[in-house]
């Protein structure tokens, strides 16, 4: 079929509702990359095969990611007329047991995490006995999902399900009822700021571009999510690709562009696949192409797969990469809104920014502006990862504190350990100490504290993380990813890396700390693009908040966290060792010896201090001597 009008959208909506809320048993498996990494494919196969073996009538669906990655693989069981039940940490065996129980008309309680009440529960629906509602779990109770609104709840391959949830309604409204100026005005009044990290007002960017009297114009979706520790763009592209496509078409209409690009990073093969399928499907339906929804507006999208260059997340580098050149940035101004792709006016927006646009158009600027705080409207998606109890994607209104996020939603440190710091904003951001956790989260507060909001990566660190080593890690990252075009970034990151390597090797001096700070400040001032200008942030923020750790390294030649290899040694406590031999087998250096059931010993000459023995010892007999 072709969708040529609003009433065609209604037809599609009916189709979507019939698969979202079927009148037979439906099981959905979260099969975004997080789920797949923990065995969701095997769970899916087990469900399918066992249902076939037992002749159980079943609709089996692969959905995207619900965000609660800690509990993956997640499986949702929906029986007609009942609230769906969500099962956590499902294995292939548990999947078979689940089918066996369902075949008997039962619903097992083991492994059940919550019920997911449906927005419009079918008549006569009953909540399953004793389980909390998903949105009442501590992980979800303070979340407000806008960007992630459909993730894990719809089949990403189904346009109809997207439409059934209100998708493409905003596109129809924008194209058929609003002028481009009205669309821009709505986004401007909503107060939406670029979610790629810089926080530039999206409506303002569109306004600037629209005003340039040059054609053709282009819109680009920046899906080159390179910050390590952040994966929300991947999740949206994998779980709800049509929200991004819809946002991109609306952006194109607003500025007067007829060609869009979605640039996805190479490390996200599933996102590339899903978004490519979604674009093809939208083309088939006429939601892309000529005369969209009978409006007279034409728009096409090309997918570009990146090739493993962090710097391409920088907008001018990304543009150069699409043009077929190297992914190297150029000085700004002129900004892309004035002179971008092929020198033409170009709007470039992040995945989350674009996924937010349709909601603003549908629900209105006032609604969106009422969420969050005055200067920081709306919600932001964070990836809560590292040494935190509950890892996953969380979307919260701006203005919540870091403590709300890390302790409330995240449940505090991993294995009950004390959280020492949180690193926000990836390699461009900084490390904030636990004493600042009452800081409300906004673009401004994080910047003032020496970090940045960035793309939303939030890596939690505990007492076993060495902050000097973390600084060295990040500078190593930016050193490797620096494109080499400008000297301050290319040489400066190498120089900082040398100093940090010296310090972590126990060969640093007090003067090195001054030198490090001086180099960091110059790299910040003199670099060409955001990569270099922000690369020193991890160094400067750790020097500011964790100077005692640096001083322990240079003055006492000691690594308080027990991480830096040159400053620690490992030994086995003979009174605790039961001679199980696990450490001996796992030691990659063959440095451990000992007879069965006799205390083992480590040969310090061979030991590389990788600490695998420390991790695997079941009785805690391995000691890190600092």
């Amino acid at each position: 079929m072709k969708v040529r009008s609003r009433s065609d959208l209604e037809t599609l909506r009916a189709e979507g509702l019939s698969t979202l809320y079927p009148s037979r048993l439906k099981i959905s498996v979260g099969m975004a990359t997080c789920g797949l990494a923990t065995g969701a494919a095997a769970v899916y196969d087990a469900l399918r095969d066992e249902a076939a073996r037992r002749d159980l009538d079943l609709m089996l669906v692969a959905t995207g990611c619900l965000g609660y990655c800690q509990q993956e693989p997640l499986v949702e069981v929906r029986r007609p007329g009942r609230d769906p039940v969500l099962y956590a940490r499902v294995t292939a065996d548990r999947a078979r047991e689940l089918i066996a129980a369902l075949a008997e008309g039962e619903l097992p309680t083991e492994g059940a995490l919550a019920i997911i009440p449906e927005e419009k529960p079918p008549a006569g629906s009953k909540p399953a006995g004793g389980l909390p509602r998903l949105n009442d779990l501590p992980f979800y109770s303070r979340q407000h999902k806008i960007v992630l609104r459909h993730c894990g709840l719809i089949d990403p391959a189904s346009v109809a399900e997207y439409v059934a949830q209100g998708g493409y309604e905003a596109l129809a409204h924008a194209l058929l009822d609003l002028t481009p100026e009205q669309v821009i005005d709505e986004v401007l009044r909503a107060g939406l700021r670029g979610r790629g990290g810089a926080g530039f007002p999206t409506g303002r960017k569109w306004q600037i571009c629209q005003a340039v009297p040059i054609q053709p114009k282009y819109v680009i979706c920046n899906g080159d999510e390179g910050d390590p520790g952040a994966y929300m763009d991947r999740t949206v592209l994998e779980s709800d690709p049509h929200s991004v496509i819809e946002g991109l078409i609306i952006a194109g209409y607003a500025i007067g562009a007829h060609q869009g690009y979605i640039y996805v990073r190479d490390e996200y093969p599933l996102a590339v696949e899903r978004v490519t399928q979604a674009v093809a499907r939208a083309e088939e339906l006429g939601l892309l192409g000529e005369n969209i929804l009978g409006s007279g507006f034409d728009f096409n999208i090309t997918i570009v797969r990146g090739a493993g260059a962090f710097v391409c997340g920088e907008e001018t580098a990304l543009i150069s990469s699409i043009e077929g050149g190297l992914g190297e940035p150029r000085p700004k101004p002129p900004f892309p809104a004035v002179s971008g792709l092929w020198g033409k006016p170009t709007v470039i927006n992040n995945v989350k920014t674009l996924a937010t646009v349709p909601v603003i158009i549908t629900r209105g600027a006032d609604w969106y502006a009422s969420i969050g705080t005055e200067q920081n409207a709306g919600t932001v998606v964070f990836s809560l990862v590292g040494k935190v109890a509950n890892t996953g994607l969380v979307e919260v209104p701006l203005g919540l504190t870091l403590r709300d996020l890390i302790e409330g939603i995240g449940g505090g440190g991993l294995n009950g350990k004390a959280v020492k710091a949180v690193q926000t904003g990836g390699p461009s951001g900084g490390c904030l100490p636990a004493r600042l956790f009452d800081l409300p989260i906004s673009y401004e507060t994080l910047t003032q504290a020496g970090s940045i909001m960035g793309s939303g990566g939030m890596v939690v660190m505990d007492e076993d993380t060495c902050m000097v080593d973390v600084a060295r890690y990040f500078i190593g990252f930016t050193m490797a990813e620096s494109c080499g075009k400008c000297a301050p970034c290319r040489e400066g990151t190498q120089y900082m890396h040398q100093i940090l390597t010296r310090i972590t090797a126990g060969e640093g001096s007090v003067e090195d700390l001054e030198l490090l700070e001086e180099v960091a400040l110059w790299v910040k001032k003199a670099s060409l693009c955001g990569l270099g200008q922000t690369a020193p942030n991890p160094v400067l923020s750790t020097l500011r908040y964790f100077r005692d750790e640096y001083e322990a390294h240079v003055k006492e030649k000691r690594c308080p966290a027990g991480v830096c290899r040159a400053l620690i040694r490992l030994s086995i406590l003979s009174e605790l060792c039961n001679g199980c031999g696990l450490c001996r087998r796992e030691c990659p250096a063959g440095a451990i010896s000992g007879e069965k059931k006799q205390p083992h010993t480590i040969n310090p000459e061979l030991c590389t201090r990788c600490r695998i023995c420390y991790d695997v010892c079941p009785v805690g007999a391995v000691e890190i001597v600092r």
Binding site: A37, P73, A230, Y268, R305, I322, V385, V459, F477, V616
Partner: protein, 156 residues
Amino acid sequence: MPLIPQPPPPAGGALLTRLHAINAEHGYLPEEELRRAAEELGVPLSQVYSAATFYAAFSFQPRGRHTIHVCLGTACYIRGGEKLLEKLESTLGVRPGETTDDGTFTVETVHCVGSCSMSPVMRVDGDTYGRLKADILPRLLRRYQTEAGGMSDEGT
């Protein structure tokens, strides 16, 4: 206007798409394929070569049958990605960028595959494995050594 007329540039993303296609077909970028790409896209060979060397996704060397990417993104790094790499290096006897003598595995490191909540993470060809511990590596590798590869069993 340039003094010498320039050929029209290739379509947006065309060069990257072409390089990906060549790399996927051969496992690396053979010289004759790059020459053909330059000719067909109407761009100088120097530009094709500089793009090919700029991006981490492309290789000028043939690869092993399976490529292992050990993730060293921030979350993986602080939750033991380096230990995983060290164990892999000692098990296979290769360093990042190298291929085992029998041509089975090429080991690489990657700056984040975006599965940070499952750290530490490793990717073998298209399969991502999360919540890894160093001691399960030998078992995981055996799957790829024995069969043609691919994940059929439970995750880890």
